[in-house]
């Protein structure tokens, strides 16, 4: 549910959690190094193992954070997918806001001034 009061913000509720269950279950499995390796060996087979739908598989393939969120991904589980890709939260923020990583970091620093 995109909360109408708060632009650009996801209120991760029951509807989201139902929609994203398979995607998040896969990402939760990435707590284990063996599972991360298995995913890296054959991403498609791993997505099938966890029953991802087409929208979720496409978002994983494209490494597109907003699409992963739209497909029901929760940011805390998605962070474990980002870990596989060696992306930190500034990289994710930059991608979601369409900024360069440098510009995104500057935006964060500017909030302190």
């Amino acid at each position: 549910m995109q909360h109408h009061d708060i632009p650009g913000t996801i209120v991760y509720d029951g509807a989201e959690a139902q929609k994203g269950y398979a995607l998040n279950a896969m990402c939760y499995s990435f707590n284990s190094a063996a599972n991360r390796d298995e995913f890296k060996r054959d991403e498609d087979a791993y997505c099938t193992k966890y029953g991802l739908n087409d929208e979720q598989r496409a978002a994983i393939r494209e490494r597109n954070v907003l699409k992963l969120l739209a497909a029901g991904g929760n940011v805390y589980y998605l962070a474990k997918f980002a870990g596989i890709l060696n992306l930190n939260v500034q990289d994710l923020g930059a991608q979601q806001t369409g900024m360069s990583v440098e510009a995104f970091k500057e935006k964060l620093a500017a909030a302190g001034r």
Binding site: T9, L66, V75, Y76, A79, L92, K105, L108
Partner: protein, 288 residues
Amino acid sequence: MAQIVGAIATSHIPAIGKAIAENKQNDPYWKPFFDGYGPALSWLKQAKPDVVVMIYNDHGLNFFLDKMPTFAVGAAAQYRSEDEGWGLPVLNSFPGDAALSWHLIEHLVADEFDITSCQDMAVDHGFAVPMNLLFPNAGGQWPVKTIPVSINTVQHPLPTPLRCWKLGRAIGRAIESYPKDLRVVVFGTGGLSHQLDGTRAGFINKKFDLYCLDTIVRDPEALTKLSVMDLVREAGAQGVEFLNWITMRGALLGQVSKIHSNYHIPISNTAGATLVLENRTEAQSQAA
């Protein structure tokens, strides 16, 4: 009797754990943040806690969406640090105090908080980073026993600030009714404002954070008038971790005074903050 001698609130941003592992405390980026911990360490040294009650949130290590307790209390002899998937070092296990945990669980349920008890629990950066920050010389031999209290900040509906305040009050009453002479410090972790997801990612609200840092000391019940949506709007989607701070503050039943606070933007995508509070009983306040 057990006594809650004070509380420390601190951010638990994963990047802090990495910075500690890489000894970056004096880097220009990190120094303004780590410098905020000196007074907290001094206070903790003289507070000599036997037990830390750690009020935090799990971010997808111990709990998944299959079973998501609103409030969970650890009841184990130890709590594991584990791989979270993105390279944060795994630390030595944290010792528990199962007897005090069960005392807390008994009292909370009698007090109508229907918590989930956990005899097997891995604790993530929400727990481990504050331990690493506040016991920097432990070398993995943690000098306190710990009791994890995990609050759901992942999947809405989240508990309200008022409910968290009341939980904190109940924790305070439960701990202070424990017959052993233990010195207890409550940690509340997370925050302050930050948002990781959506097109508002990178949102930080200094004005609201400074209001919270001040109000939680002198008028904490004012914060219980906020709704969860107020927190999402003003503190960001993940800034709702402030619920952990409100719970912590609720556990302080005596005369509360601020020992120290620090606030620094940014650490990673977050406003980093620390707050140290002392809790004195009526009798101690009169004697002082």
